[in-house]
């Protein structure tokens, strides 16, 4: 038998207009954590989807436990004890956790020996055991849509374990998690490895690889660049290989040059559907040339502040002024025209229309104006020309250029498209919520550079980020939010990372 539990030989996979995987050969050993590192769109998900039977390779072969296999559905992969947690979860929202886990392989018992029914009790018992054994705490009776993403992910992991998976594929599992949840997940993965499972981790976060992976394969634009032993390399080396050039981790920042006050938020209070104040009497202002960052743990009201400024929700009380004009009651479109860009947190729900083409999405805030239309009639050439410009300038990668359906683009490239669209509005106020979430370092570097450039051009930037590093390296002024209240507003250089962290937790005030 070969030393590898999984071997992929000369795999090539093409999609319309793109070679997603180009002659990739790779071997994964039993009981290791093997990482795939690569930029968005490098072909990581595609490669692993083939191991999971979602696509079949155009060329090449796959060996599992030394035997050549042909995987034409995920059921066949599951039969070989391969499991996968996808980038976007595949759960039935209105089913319970237990029902989701047993879906497709329901344990059937028979009443009186002939009337079949699903043995939910037994399943719940088994799920409880599994959760205990691996430290994956869940309540099997809860409905999936009522639990947060971190728990949904646990459900996905339990789903694999319930199917007795030995080879576990995680596709960017940490993209949607908070730092604490990431910690927890990485611990679980180590635990799984210690229990003899083989783990394949797809990510573009170098620290995660450094922390838990044994070996790491680097993909770039569909090609395998190198396989590295993680303890023999540095983050810098991995980063450079992944991007294909020298990567700068810290952005160069020129000294601030503040102009007049552009945005004023006065006594802003936002009430959610449960009649609960999620934002309480928040006051702040942003000047031209300033990056004002709101730091905080997720769910403390920062998104609601952004939504209220952008006009997506009505504030309970308070005023919002842009360039001295009260815009509290203005329509969303008027705000855009007054000079406001907004990169929302939930890019797939709010930021783009997945079934629109890339060019339509890039023009979605301006389609009604020249050069996109004239007297109510669309001018398609205008869409295309504009899209090609942005695709070029922001390196948005997609199979068929401007006409690509947005749904088929990788999440990172969707995000790049949103950022490109919003920056191209040339608004005076730019609201960025988690602008780099889910992006690889190359793209992060690029977007952060753009944010700084906008600031240097005299734009006011409101940055809302859960990544403390990002806040610290970009912000001129930091406001820390906790429980809907701005605890502290202070020039960035007067705060240390630790202090911000303490304000975020509400331990300091």
């Amino acid at each position: 038998m070969s030393e590898y539990i999984v071997e992929m030989r000369h795999i090539t996979k093409r999609f319309p207009g793109i070679v997603a995987n180009d002659d990739i050969s790779i071997g994964i050993k039993k009981g290791e954590i093997f990482a795939f590192l690569g930029e968005n769109g490098a072909g990581k998900s595609t490669l692993m989807s083939m191991l999971f039977g979602m696509y079949e390779p155009d060329e090449g072969e796959i060996l599992v436990r030394g035997e050549k296999v042909k995987l034409s559905s995920s059921n066949e992969a599951a039969a070989l004890n391969i499991g996968m947690v996808h980038q976007h979860f595949k759960l039935v929202d209105n089913y319970t956790i237990a029902e989701n886990i047993i879906l497709g392989i329901e344990p059937i018992k028979k009443i009186g020996g002939f009337i079949p029914y699903v043995d939910c009790k037994g399943a719940q018992e088994k799920i409880r055991e599994l959760s205990k054994a691996y430290g994956l705490e869940v309540d099997p009776c809860q409905i999936v849509e009522t639990v947060n993403v971190s728990i949904q992910q646990r459900v996905e992991i339990l789903k694999m374990l319930y199917r007795e998976a030995e080879i576990l594929i995680f596709d960017e599992p940490t993209a949607v998690l908070t730092p604490q949840e990431i910690q927890y997940l990485l611990d679980i993965m180590e635990e799984l490895r210690n229990k003899g499972k083989t783990i394949i981790l797809i990510t573009h976060k170098l620290e995660e690889i450094k922390r838990i992976a044994d070996r790491c394969a680097i993909l770039r634009r569909g090609k395998l660049v190198k396989v590295l032993n993680v303890n023999e390399t540095t983050t810098q080396e991995m980063a450079n290989l992944m991007v294909g050039r020298e990567v700068v981790f810290e952005q160069e920042k020129s000294p601030a040059n503040f102009g007049e006050v552009l945005l004023e938020v006065e006594d802003l209070t936002v009430r959610n559907e449960d009649k609960f104040d999620v934002v309480k009497n928040v006051n702040f202002s942003i000047r031209r040339g300033e990056i004002f960052a709101i730091a905080g743990v997720s769910g403390n009201g920062q998104i609601e502040i952004a939504d209220a400024i952008a006009g997506l929700i009505k504030p309970q009380k308070g005023a919002i002024k842009l360039k001295g004009k009260d815009i509290t009651d203005e329509s969303i479109r008027r705000r855009t025209e007054d000079g406001m860009s907004y990169i929302p947190e939930d890019r797939q729900r709010l930021g783009v229309i997945l079934d629109f083409s890339l060019e339509d999405n890039l023009a979605i805030k301006r389609y009604y104006r020249e050069p996109f239309s004239q007297k109510g009639i669309l001018k398609r050439e205008g869409f295309q020309k504009f899209a090609e410009e942005l695709i070029d300038r922001y390196d948005i990668r997609s199979g068929q250029g401007a006409k690509t359906t947005t749904r088929s683009m990788s999440g990172g490239n969707q995000q790049k498209a949103i950022v490109a669209r919003e920056i191209s509005l040339e608004s005076d106020l730019m609201i960025f919520v988690q602008p780099t979430r889910g992006l690889d370092i190359g793209a992060i570097e690029n977007i952060q550079k753009h944010i700084l450039r906008e600031r240097d051009k005299g734009k006011a930037v409101l940055l809302i980020s859960l990544e403390l590093d990002e806040v610290m390296s970009l912000a001129d002024t930091i406001g820390v939010i906790y429980n809907g209240e701005l605890q502290k507003i202070s020039p960035a250089e007067e705060l240390t990372t630790n202090q911000v962290g303490e304000y975020m937790m509400g331990v300091k005030s």
Binding site: R14, S72, L312, T336, I353, I364, G376, I377, L378, R380
Partner: protein, 388 residues
């Protein structure tokens, strides 16, 4: 560079069909065609079970719709009469389907087509059909009233959805009942024809058709609605593909949250889309009640209003597609009477066939999947044989 799909080796008919079904461009035509063929086979099997000759039945549909000669014609009748009559009923079918398409593209299901048709037909009949206006005034007025009535009802449904979050399916079904009862009340009280028990026939001047034309020995009725319907196809296509309003409607239909975020006035777009959908319902109504039938049976909603949903779906929710699917479904519906009288099966078989047709076309994705599987299997086999 483009991904080349492996062609199935050999160029047999089977191979071609499989390739077409799984081709990104061809599949949208290949799937309906295959569905139709499968439907005809299934219908043939059904007729055989009933002990009838499928070929006579199929040609019966075509004969009844004026696509083939009947063996005998009554006085003043000919294949052309039948065909023009076919076009007369095709027009409301196509118009109603366009209304459904506008709704669906905007994310709404206008199941109230039949009610909107009835209301428009009734208003036009009462205000113009029973007036003594001459044709040059009456016909445009009928069209105008159709547009206004349908549009108004659609707008109300849209408004209820936007303002009070009442689902359009619920409100439009309510409207169907309300309209049906109100119209029945007025017809029974004021406009009933004692003999037929329907409403009195509307004046020839008001009808969206030209009657009494003779050609050779046959008496013809020229349907004007079909012109309206074909113009509607291109209008809707233009609206959806090329206008700012259409762009907004599609955005709202696909992702309301993003549309709102992008600054689209979602409420306005919803109301407008439902109003436009209603406009086409209204036009379908006037061509149906003031042009084809010329009177209204109280308390009866046109089943055509529901069949138009099938037409829209079968035509892949595209205006051009609807031309073909409406022709097809109308052949079955229109030809069913002649078919049933010559073959001796109940005419409801036409509805069964329409149902089967929809069933098969709903399986389009599955067909594509099967085709892909089969192709890969054949390609693998070919590779193996090549190696040996």
């Amino acid at each position: 560079m483009n991904a080349k799909k492996e062609r199935v080796p050999g160029n047999g008919l089977g191979g071609r069909i499989i390739n077409a079904l799984d081709d990104d461009r061809l599949s949208q035509f290949a799937i309906p065609v295959v569905s139709i063929i499968l439907t005809i086979l299934a219908a043939a099997a059904l007729l055989l079970v009933l002990g009838k000759n499928p070929a006579t039945a199929m040609t019966g549909f075509l004969r009844g719709s004026g696509f083939m000669m009947k063996p005998i014609y009554g006085g003043g009748q000919s294949m052309l009469t039948d065909f023009l009559s076919f076009l007369g009923i095709l027009a409301p079918m196509l118009l109603a389907a366009l209304g459904i398409i506008i709704g669906m593209k905007s994310g709404m299901f206008n199941i109230g087509m039949a009610g909107q048709m009835l209301a428009a037909g009734f208003i036009a009949t009462v205000f113009v059909g029973y007036s003594g206006l001459n044709a040059y005034l009456a016909k445009p007025l009928v069209i105008l009233l159709g547009i206004l009535t349908g549009g108004l009802i659609g707008a109300i449904i849209g408004f209820l959805k936007y303002r009070f979050n009442i689902h359009e399916v619920v409100s439009s079904i309510m409207f169907n009942y309300i309209i049906s009862y109100i119209v029945a009340f007025f017809i029974n009280t004021y406009y009933k024809d004692i003999i037929t028990r329907s409403s009195r026939v509307c004046s020839a001047a008001s009808r969206l058709s030209i009657t009494g034309v003779t050609w050779g020995t046959s008496k013809l009725t020229l349907p004007l609605g079909i012109i309206l319907a074909l113009a509607g196809v291109f209008l809707v296509k233009f609206l959806l593909d090329r206008t700012v309003v259409g762009f907004e409607m599609k955005a709202v239909g696909l992702n309301r949250d993003c549309a709102k975020y992008a600054g689209v006035n979602v409420g306005k777009s919803i109301i407008l889309a439902m109003a436009l959908s209603g406009v086409f319902g209204g036009l379908a109504g006037v061509t149906y009640y003031v042009g084809y039938f010329n009177s209204i049976v109280p308390k009866e909603l046109a089943s055509l209003g529901y069949d138009s949903i099938a037409v829209a779906l079968l035509g892949n929710i595209s205006p051009i597609g609807a031309i073909f699917s409406s022709i097809l479904i109308t052949i079955f519906q229109k030809g069913s009477i002649y078919m049933s009288s010559t073959v001796g099966v109940p005419k409801e078989i036409a509805s069964v066939i329409t149902g089967i047709l929809l069933l098969f076309s709903a399986c389009g994705t599955y067909m594509r999947y099967l085709a892909r599987r089969q192709r890969e299997r054949l390609a693998d086999k070919a590779k193996k044989e090549g190696v040996q």
